[in-house]
């Protein structure tokens, strides 16, 4: 018993390995190979980001900005809203994502609580119904939603509401899974301890359960927001004449491609980067000592 505390330590494995002939350089390489591959993969992930940044300073000679870098300019950054409809599409995307995020996070969190904290008939069926949307390719989800909207006579009213409905749908499962994982890892004895210390059900929820579940809920909300903001496929089916940002980008690729799109891409990257870094710092400060 308690074997895990008696495991052999690293030091003991060294001599055996060094029995093989390997130059110091070779060994250093072998030790760091994984790290190298990892960094290369990261670089690969950042190549297009670099391109987007570079092209955001591009002054294209023609009207379309997708081609080569021609000459440097700041003007794209100062005239973001110039291309017609770009800022409207951004506004719509933000509104859709915020609404969908709030709805999906609330509904999904409630579901996760029900699944982790309560027992009832039909849990397996509920889990299946939550899993299925994740196993459904986006085209299928989008097309079936469109078919339904059309059949109930909503084809004239496609827009904000139908997009939000669709986005909540595909975000919901991800929220449930994320929050569920957090709740399942939580020690039920903490809540019992709170009750033992004179906190009633509501206080226990407010002072113990919710703060402990919060990181999971926040992560779920961020995930939902990014899924929603970036979605094109499902949105394309359910948007009707409305133009979200991804739809705007998609539409622009066929015609002239304004360089301001790259500015928006860069800003999105910067904002999210700042958010993630700030969140990480905050988490680090708060979670010092979180077992």
């Amino acid at each position: 018993m308690a074997t895990d505390t008696r495991l052999p330590v690293a030091g003991r494995s060294r001599p055996r390995r060094s029995g093989r002939t390997r130059t110091p350089v070779g060994r250093w390489l072998a030790d760091h190979l994984v790290l190298f591959i990892g960094i290369l993969v990261l670089v690969y992930m950042f190549v297009p980001i670099g391109y987007i940044f570079a092209l955001s300073f591009n002054q294209p000679s023609g009207r379309s900005a997708t081609a080569e870098f021609e000459s440097f300019t700041w003007s794209n950054w100062t005239s973001i809203c110039e291309p017609e409809g770009l800022c409207d599409s951004l506004r719509l995307s933000v509104a859709v994502s915020l609404t969908a995020t709030v709805l999906a996070t609330v509904l999904g969190t409630l579901m996760a609580f029900a699944l982790v904290r309560h027992s009832f008939r039909g849990r397996a069926a509920s889990n299946l119904l939550i899993f299925l949307p994740m196993a459904t390719p986006e085209v299928v989800m989008g097309s079936s939603l469109l078919a339904m909207f059309v059949s109930v006579g909503l084809d004239g009213a496609l827009g904000f509401v139908t997009i939000v409905i669709a986005h909540v749908l595909f975000c919901l499962s991800f929220v449930v899974v994320t929050v569920k994982a957090r709740l399942a890892g939580m020690d039920a004895r903490l809540e019992q301890a709170a009750m033992d210390l004179y906190a009633n059900e509501w206080q226990t929820f407010r002072l113990v359960t919710l703060p402990l579940a919060m990181p999971g809920i926040v992560a779920a909300a961020l995930l939902a927001f990014s899924l929603s903001f970036d979605d094109f496929i499902v949105t394309n089916f359910t948007a009707g004449q409305s133009v979200t940002f991804p739809i705007f980008v998609y539409g622009s690729k066929l015609k002239d491609f304004p360089a301001q799109l790259f500015v928006v891409g860069s800003i999105m990257f910067l904002v999210s980067f700042v958010f993630v870094v700030a969140g990480e710092l905050w988490r680090r400060r708060r979670s010092i000592g979180l077992g």
């Binding site: 903490l190 301890a193 009750m195 033992d196 004179y198 010092i288």
Partner: protein, 377 residues
């Protein structure tokens, strides 16, 4: 809220999980201000009992009372009872100070700050208030858990193996600490433990539990010297149990026949209902003597033994002595050096006083409560 200066009483408390009876018709009284230890093997229902007292588990049947107040169905936060959980269950997102102040603040106590600081001093964690639980050592966390419960001045403090995760040295230290605090503030402690030594040194009263029922309850010395079941005889310390038949109960003494040899004991130490019984004696109570060499008047003697194993353990020597009927009995002898030790094969008699003899019902397993090899670390 129930009167906090009253006895804790459990009446016919029962808990079933499906068909499985975890706690079976348990009744006991814990006097106010006493240190009560609940001792028993793993899975015997100790935690379940505590959880019912704390209100974290609903009893299937029976009642929990403090004084005359029935608290059986009171929500946990309405009971004058606090728990020190085995894994401490400290709130990881709150500081040590906030953890300890939690109960007072829920009850709206005004000067909770001063009280919390005092409590942190009491558990010797004065400078640690701003830390998070994850930044403390196991022993420190344990003291936080203790302080967090004690600060509420509960009528009853439930401790579920609070020292289980500590190393031996820290454990001894905390045992002394716990006892000191308990005497100082005169709170009823119900202490669950696996460790019989811990139970015997700390508790005023021990209840030995097995399979959901209390086998025996009493002062540590009573339990040790006069066990009423084979389980208690084996679980608390060690015992030699041999088959015997009751042949005479006239007068104050009981006379038994043990494989042809007559032994006697006081009637108050006989817990056998029928004719046939287990006769018990603790190994350290037995005296080994060279065959036929000693005076036998007034003592119980088993003759015809042969030493089969001698192990020297420093302060004492442990013998295994085979009886004529082939059973091996254990004898511990202090190394006083007054005479040379026996050797394997020596013919010996075993002697002990009648007041160290006890008699148990024969229809019990003589091996009940014995430590299996895995239990011994």
């Amino acid at each position: 809220m129930a009167d906090r200066n009253a006895d804790l009483r459990l009446e016919n408390l029962t808990k079933r999980f499906g068909d499985f009876v975890a706690v079976d018709d348990l009744s006991l009284t814990v006097p106010n201000g006493s240190f009560f230890a609940l001792l028993g093997p793993s899975g015997c229902g100790k935690t379940t009992t505590l959880r019912m007292v704390a209100g974290l588990e609903d009893p299937t049947d029976g009642r929990v009372l403090i004084g005359e107040d029935d608290i059986t169905h009171l929500r946990p936060y309405k009971r004058p009872v606090n728990t020190v959980f085995q894994s401490y269950a400290l709130f990881p997102h709150l500081t040590i100070f906030e953890n300890v102040a939690f109960g007072l603040r829920r009850r709206g106590v005004k000067d909770y700050q001063q009280k919390t600081r005092d409590m942190l001093e009491l558990v010797e964690l004065g400078g640690y208030g701003d830390r998070k639980p994850g930044q403390l050592s196991g022993g420190q966390q344990q003291r936080v858990a203790l302080g967090r419960a004690l600060i509420n001045e509960p009528g009853v403090l439930l401790l579920d193996e609070p020292l289980g995760a500590l190393d031996l040295k820290l454990r001894r230290q905390m045992q002394i600490e716990l006892k000191r605090i308990q005497t100082e503030i005169e709170v009823t402690f119900v202490h669950v433990t696996h460790d019989q030594e811990e139970a015997m040194t700390m508790a005023d009263t021990i209840a030995v539990m097995n399979n959901g029922v209390i086998e025996q309850m009493g002062a540590p010395a009573d339990l040790y010297e006069n066990p009423v079941t084979t389980f208690v005889a084996n679980f608390l310390g060690q015992s030699n149990l041999v088959r015997a038949d009751v042949i005479d109960t006239a007068g104050g003494d009981v006379v038994v026949d043990c494989h042809g040899q007559k032994l006697r004991l006081a009637a108050s130490r006989s817990h056998a209902a029928g004719r046939s019984a287990w006769l018990g004696v603790r190994p350290e109570k037995v005296f080994v003597a060279a065959s036929e060499a000693e005076d036998h008047t007034g003592v119980n003697v088993l003759t015809g033994g042969r030493v089969t194993d001698v192990s020297f353990v420093g302060v004492s020597t442990q013998y295994l002595v085979a009886t004529p009927w082939g059973q091996e009995l254990m004898v511990f002898e202090q190394n006083t050096g007054r005479r040379p030790a026996f050797r394997n094969g020596d013919e010996v008699d075993l002697m002990w006083a009648p007041e160290h003899t006890f008699l148990l019902d024969a229809d019990q397993d003589a091996h009940a409560g014995l430590m299996t090899p895995e239990d011994i670390e």
